[in-house]
């Protein structure tokens, strides 16, 4: 394969994936508002477009046209860089997510932008870098609310990254690979092959940790409105605010994608006879189901206290995940021998 | 009113509480002593009970079980009373129901709403359903009077207003007319009310039947802020509440039982509250630029003033600067002004409006009796056995002091003897009167002394104790009655009758008005009155001689030493020890000799001896006649500083004008004629950048680099009290009340007394004999006005436009002059045209013109005779011979 073709293929795939992701982010906000409204017997946005369908676009336009305010006393460089540090890792992760079975395109293989053999670790590596955006943004704003939000976020992300990392080890043991495509293919052949059934505990801990990792209710400590106004991005406005916003929703989609890949068979159809439906549809369905679950949780649970959050992470989730690894490892050893 | 501690008390039990009270106490008074409230509309502590409103009904259980009116029932020994038994409450409710059958429920638009007794009692005792048939009265409101509106629909016919007019004010200007259901209150014969407008009927009205046009619909009681302050119109110093709303005065309300007036006010005090808000008030300092006064900042004006004064001091010495103070200034201002003049500017030339007459009283009273001001308080006046009133239209000049006299007349039938050249109001009420020729007070007093001596009315104790002094007086009385009858017009019989009646009284009080002190030989006249009191044995506590002040805070002027011959504390300049004390307190050297008096100062200005003057709180250009050349004198000055509320005639000639604050805008104290030092309090904000007088004096001193720095008036008064002990305590009668003057009197009799006797009883020359004019013109005091402040009140100007010559109606008829006609008044000095008002106030052969009025230049017709230095250098200009002719 020539370098030119590789680049072209990559560019096309990147454009498509990013386009889909960003559109999903936009309509995720819409979906969240709508679903929450329905849960609260309201109608949600109705004004812009039919049933408010153009609301995300209006919001986006508004945010991009608003004045960009840098607070006096803020560290200007870091204040400007932080949203970007936050957004890039969130988007970069999609590079290794396999959205379809491999197909030929322009003489190369499609289905993933790049099928890294350490793809899973790659995602976690960049997810952990996202925390810098939050912490630096909070620090650079020169505001006590932002600083506290940033600190909380740092503590929370470090704690729950561990949980996420530990909870997927079981899956890795089963599929014996860090490549997401390999993991997906490992679950081929109907929904009863999904890791979910073998690794239910890991799935639960993963989902909980994912909620915490993306700063969503009930774990939205970094931006707890009633305590910290808007947390680390209290002082942000306009474009930069939009970046943080995009990052949060892109992260949500990313962890959902990951969960579907790891536990729900990724792009694999739930049964053989459904194979005629393209793989990316299944991935999208599974991801959106998980996203709905996120919103559902938000609509149901109140925010926990910060010490409860940390205690839960360190004293419950990590031990549970460790035990899960042990059990899985033993199980795999027995089965293999 | 009543004291429970008197001996021989009887006991009464009210609601189970027992109290001992003197005989004659009424139930309502005993209840008040116990702090039990009995509702009442018509009862008033200072009036006789009339039991008209029937709301104060109480149940008496012992000695008989019956309902009584608490306000009118005298207590019997061992009486038992219930004030809120079911029977009482039922009776009260019925009473209120009956009152409310006719009373309109227009409380929202009624000015009394919110402080109305009927409202309060209806809430407290009334019922919500009225069992009687209600019928609204529909009389049109009587708004014909200048000040007071009568709304007969609201009237509950308690009669308190009528009673206050007849009992306290003794005018009976209002009364009931018609009978039965259609009874209304108002002026007799349905005429529009035209009285003194003291407004006390409005104050005692429990409902809103009488209201003031000046405040009508402009306030609600709960919106107002109350500030207790002291009235500044005359020397009485009444206490009242200045009520302000949003920084504007809404009205004045009396405070029952407080201050010299005990809750009475006169028209000036009650309705003269508009001048503070007058548009002509000075708001910014003015500085002369060329021939114009232009507005300037304080810093500029102060620097200018200090520069001018310092230049005059450098050129002509301290004695080249004159300071003139007026009674508008508070005690603290006066003290500071004195210190500024004598300490900072080192000038002995510090004089004041005392020079218009009261200086004589100040010096002679101190010399003879060791007291400053009056010997007696207003309370003494109420309790005296006889009062001799000489040369004062007391109800006009000092209305509240007049009320004290009237109180004695009403309650105790106190005999009041009047010697005056006008038919005054008190003369009509008094027991005896001598109507004398204007200007002959000295002769009349001599006549009285002569009658006492000749008729053997001299107090036995006095005759035995002080034979030399009595003999000296007797020697002076050698002449015939003829020489008294001729100038005065009084007969021997009258004099003897009056002298006899007065001498026979146990506690006789002599009141001397401005026509005694301000006339020729004023000091001698007052000395004669002291002799009279001395001979009749009346120089003792509860009796004595009392000079009445005309202006506000004249006693404050005396105490602050606002005259060249006085030191702070009212002590004579010749008192070396006192001078040393002042020098020590001020850390300065005072000159040995006293400075020049007012008229000398004016001469000095014209002759160039005086280079600069500082005039505060008075307007000599308007208050002195043309013959004194005041305006020319001030024009001759190099530099003139004036400090006042308005741009007065004096201020127009000034180089620097400072805007001062009125009494309602600042704190401080005033001294009333009794010697009470009473507070004024800030009730509103001053207009523009006006400052209190003391701050201005302080700032000028600062510019002159003699720091006189104080944090407030209290600090000034505390310092002043070191030299002026009277300033130490507030609200007590200081002057001479209750003081035994025997020691001072003996020192006086032993001293220069016999020497001064030589010319004391020499009668002065008959006034203006050279004049071919026949009618006597007298500049009289007015009840409604006192000068600058009162004439800037649109309210008072509406009541009395003042610019009128008062003529006897009979005489006017002879000259075919009707009310309102214009007449030409001509004296040797010129003529003026004024409108005429007819009143029997003026005797035939006499016409009166208000003293304060400067518009018509009648004052400039007056010839001036300046008294000798012994007689206080008082410029006498109140009498003149004129011819009055109708202008066609």
């Amino acid at each position: 394969m020539e370098l030119g073709t590789t680049v072209l293929l990559a560019v096309i795939q990147i454009a498509v994936v990013m386009g889909v992701v960003l559109l999903s982010v936009a309509y995720m906000t819409y979906a969240e508002r709508k679903v929450l409204s329905f849960m609260q017997d309201r109608l949600g946005p109705m004004e812009v477009g039919p049933w408010g369908l153009l609301q995300p676009i209006a919001d986006g336009l508004k945010l991009f046209m608003k004045e960009d305010i840098i607070p006096s006393g803020a560290n200007k460089i870091i204040f400007a860089v932080a949203p970007i540090i936050c957004l890039i890792p969130a988007l970069i992760g999609f590079a290794v997510v396999p959205y379809s079975e491999g197909f030929s395109l322009l003489g190369g293989t499609g289905g993933t932008i790049t099928d890294l053999n350490v793809g899973l670790l790659y995602i976690f590596a960049f997810a952990s870098v996202g925390a810098y955006g939050v912490i630096l943004g909070g620090w650079a704003s020169n505001s006590k609310y932002a600083l506290l939000g940033g600190l909380r976020s740092g503590a929370q992300v470090i704690s729950y990254e561990l949980v996420i990392g530990l909870s997927i080890v079981g899956v890795l043991l089963l599929s014996e690979s860090l490549s997401l495509r390999a993991i997906t293919e490992h679950q081929d052949g109907g929904f009863w092959h999904w890791n979910l059934w073998v690794q239910p505990v890991a799935f639960v801990t993963y989902v909980i940790a994912a909620v915490a990792e993306t700063n969503r209710l009930p774990f939205d400590m970094p931006e707890a409105e009633s305590e910290l106004v808007a947390g680390f991005f209290t002082e942000y406005s306009g474009m930069r605010f939009a970046f943080f916003f995009l990052a949060e929703y892109a992260n949500m989609i990313l962890v959902s994608c990951l969960a579907s890949v790891l536990f729900l068979g990724g792009y694999e159809a739930p049964a053989e006879f459904l194979n005629f439906v393209p793989g990316f549809v299944w991935l999208a369905l599974k991801t959106w189901a998980l996203l709905f679950f996120f919103i559902w949780i938000r609509g149901t649970f109140p925010r926990v206290r910060f010490d409860q959050l940390m205690k839960f992470g360190w004293k419950v989730l990590i031990p549970v995940a460790l035990v899960n690894i042990l059990v899985t490892a033993v199980g795999v050893y027995i089965v293999n021998n | 009113m009543t004291t429970a501690t008197k001996v021989g008390t009887i006991t009464v039990t009210i609601n189970g509480e027992t109290i001992g009270v003197p005989k004659g106490t009424r139930i309502i008074q005993a209840a008040q002593l116990l702090g039990i409230e009995i509702p009442t509309f018509c009862y008033h502590p200072r009036m006789r009970p009339q039991a008209a409103c029937r709301i104060c009904t109480v149940e008496v259980v012992k000695p008989m079980n019956k309902m009584f009116m608490a306000c009118a029932t005298e207590i019997m020994d061992g009486m038992e009373v219930l004030t809120d038994s079911p029977r009482t409450l039922a009776d009260r409710r019925t009473n209120l129901d009956l009152l409310l059958t006719q009373h309109p429920l227009d409380c929202p638009v009624c000015d009394k709403g919110g402080e109305c007794k009927l409202q309060d009692y209806s809430v407290k005792y009334g019922s919500s359903e009225n069992p009687f048939e209600t019928k609204r009265k529909d009389y049109p409101e009587d708004i014909r009077s200048t000040v007071l509106d009568f709304n007969s629909n609201r009237c509950i016919l308690c009669g308190a207003c009528i009673q206050v007019c007849s009992d306290i004010q003794q005018l009976s200007a209002i009364g009931f007319s018609k009978r039965g259901f259609i009874t209304v209150v108002g002026a007799p014969m349905g005429e529009p009310l035209d009285c003194e407008f003291c407004g006390q009927c409005m104050d005692v009205c429990p409902v809103g039947a009488i209201t003031s046009r000046f405040s009508k619909y402009k306030f609600r009681p709960w919106q107002e802020e109350k500030t207790q302050t002291t009235c500044t119109y005359c020397g009485c110093g009444c206490q009242y509440n200045l009520r302000t709303m949003d920084g504007e005065v809404s009205r004045v309300t009396p405070i029952e039982g407080v201050g010299p007036g005990q809750g009475s006010l006169c028209v000036r005090g009650h309705f003269g509250f508009h001048f503070m808000e007058d548009a002509q008030r000075l708001t910014k300092p003015l500085v002369r630029r060329g021939d114009k006064l232009v507005e300037a900042g304080w810093d500029e004006a102060l620097a200018e003033a200090a520069k001018g004064l310092a230049a005059a001091k450098a050129a002509k010495g301290g004695a080249g600067i004159a300071g003139i103070a007026g009674g508008r200034l508070a005690n603290e201002d006066l003290y500071l002004f004195g210190r500024l003049m004598r300490n900072a500017l080192e000038s002995p030339n510090f004089d004041s409006t005392l020079r218009y007459g009261y200086i004589n009283a100040a010096t002679i009273m101190h010399k003879a009796l060791g007291v400053t001001g009056m010997m007696n308080s207003f309370d003494d006046l109420r309790r005296a056995d006889a009062v001799l009133l000489v040369g004062s239209d007391i109800t006009q000049e000092a209305p509240i002091c007049g009320l004290a006299v009237k109180d004695g007349i009403t309650k105790r039938k106190m005999p009041v003897f009047t010697v005056d050249s006008m038919k005054t109001e008190i003369m009509k009420l008094g027991a005896g009167r001598l109507v004398i020729t204007p200007g002959s007070e000295v002769a009349a007093i001599k006549g009285l002394v002569k009658a006492v001596v000749d008729e053997g009315l001299i107090d036995a104790g006095v005759a035995a104790k002080y034979p030399a002094a009595v003999a000296a007086i007797k020697k002076e009385m050698a002449g015939t009655y003829k020489e008294i009858e001729t100038p005065t017009g009084a007969t021997k019989a009258d004099l003897v009758a009056m002298a006899r009646a007065f001498a026979n009284a146990d506690k006789g009080i002599i009141l001397a008005g401005p026509r005694v002190m301000g006339g020729l030989k004023g000091a001698s006249a007052l000395a004669m009155l002291i002799d009279l009191a001395f001979l009749t044995g009346n120089l003792k506590p509860g009796a004595g001689v009392n000079p009445l002040t005309g202006e506000n805070n004249e006693l404050g002027l005396v105490l602050a030493g606002a005259a060249p011959e006085l030191l702070p504390g009212g002590l004579p300049w010749s008192d070396g020890a006192a001078r040393a004390r002042v020098e020590q307190a001020w850390n300065c050297a005072l000159p040995e000799f006293p400075g020049n008096s007012l008229t000398d100062l004016f001469d000095g200005m014209r002759e160039g001896r005086i280079g600069a003057a500082y005039i505060a709180g008075t307007d000599p250009v308007r208050s002195l006649p043309a013959e004194l050349n005041v305006a020319a004198s001030l024009d001759a000055l190099d530099f003139l500083v004036v400090q006042d509320l308005f741009l007065t005639g004096t201020a127009l000639r000034a180089d620097v004008v400072f805007p001062a604050q009125s009494y309602a805008e600042r704190d401080g104290t005033f001294t009333n004629m009794e010697g009470r030092v009473q507070r004024i309090r800030q009730a509103m904000k001053a207009p523009g950048k006006a400052r209190p007088d003391w701050q201005i004096f302080s700032a000028v001193a600062r510019e002159l680099e003699v720091p006189l720095e104080y944090a407030g008036t209290d600090e000034i008064r505390a310092e002043a009290a070191g030299l002026i002990p009277q300033f130490a305590a507030l609200d007590v009668t200081n002057a001479g009340h209750g003081v035994d003057v025997t020691a001072a009197l003996e020192a006086y009799l032993a001293g220069a007394y016999l020497k001064t006797m030589d010319d004391r009883y020499d009668l002065p020359a008959v006034l203006n004999t050279a004049s071919p004019h026949e009618t006597r013109l007298y500049l009289a005091d007015s009840l409604f006005h006192s000068g600058q402040m009162s004439t800037h009140n649109w309210g008072l100007m509406k009541i009395d436009p003042a610019d009128e010559l008062v003529m006897n109606p009979r005489e006017a008829r002879k000259l075919q002059i009707a009310e309102g006609d214009k007449v030409r008044v001509t004296s040797l000095l010129g003529s003026a045209v004024v409108p005429v008002k007819l009143s029997s106030h003026a005797n035939p052969g006499t016409v009166l013109f208000p003293k304060h009025c400067a518009q018509s230049h009648v004052r400039d017709l007056m010839g001036v005779v300046v008294g000798s230095r012994e007689e206080g250098s008082v410029p006498q200009f109140r009498f003149e011979r004129v011819t009055v002719e109708k202008v066609h």
């Binding site: 560290n75 053999n117 350490v118 670790l121 590596a125 960049f126 860090l178 | -």
Partner: protein, 175 residues
């Protein structure tokens, strides 16, 4: 091509390393260090060690450096930074000697270092995760376990040291 990328990565690594110790604002130091970590990871990728590269980022950038940042924010270092910078002559001395030593070593040994058991071809065939695993758990099992033991001891020690006061506090409260 590879050469160019290496030069870029190496240059940035060195520059960032210098900036890390020379910048005055502590947060900038951290940012420089972060950049350096990424470029070191790039170097690993060039060596076909993707696993190492990713772990480098997760461990150093994702965990350790975040903790540094955390501490920096809790401490207000602005006023103390100058004090720290006074040590630079001393640092130059030490670094100079270390550099001299390195240069000496390289001159003595040359660049021809021995190759391990997992050249690029092997890694691409087996997968670098497996290669590392194999190496660690066969040849270097003892050092690996020793290292983990040392870390465990350090962890327990840290816990004991920090918990001591808490335990004492509790005791005092109860007594």
């Amino acid at each position: 091509m590879m050469q160019a990328i290496f030069i870029y990565l190496a240059t940035v690594c060195v520059v960032c390393a210098v900036l890390t110790v020379s910048l005055r604002q502590p947060v900038y130091n951290v940012m420089a260090l972060l950049t350096m970590f990424f470029h070191v990871a790039g170097l690993y990728v060039l060596l076909n060690a993707e696993f190492l590269a990713v772990v480098q980022i997760i461990v150093y950038a994702g965990a350790i450096l975040v903790l540094y940042l955390f501490v920096l924010m809790l401490l207000n270092l602005r006023s103390e930074s100058r004090h720290l910078h006074r040590q630079w002559p001393f640092a130059v001395l030490i670094l100079g000697s270390v550099a001299a030593m390195l240069v000496g070593a390289m001159q003595a040994g040359g660049f021809g270092l021995p190759t391990g058991e997992a050249p690029a071809q092997v890694i691409q065939a087996v997968g670098n995760t497996e290669s590392i695993g194999l190496t660690l758990y066969t040849d270097y099992l003892l050092p690996f376990e020793l290292a983990s033991l040392v870390l465990l001891v350090a962890m327990i020690g840290a816990i004991v040291l920090t918990k001591k006061e808490l335990i004492q506090d509790h005791g005092e409260e109860q007594s």
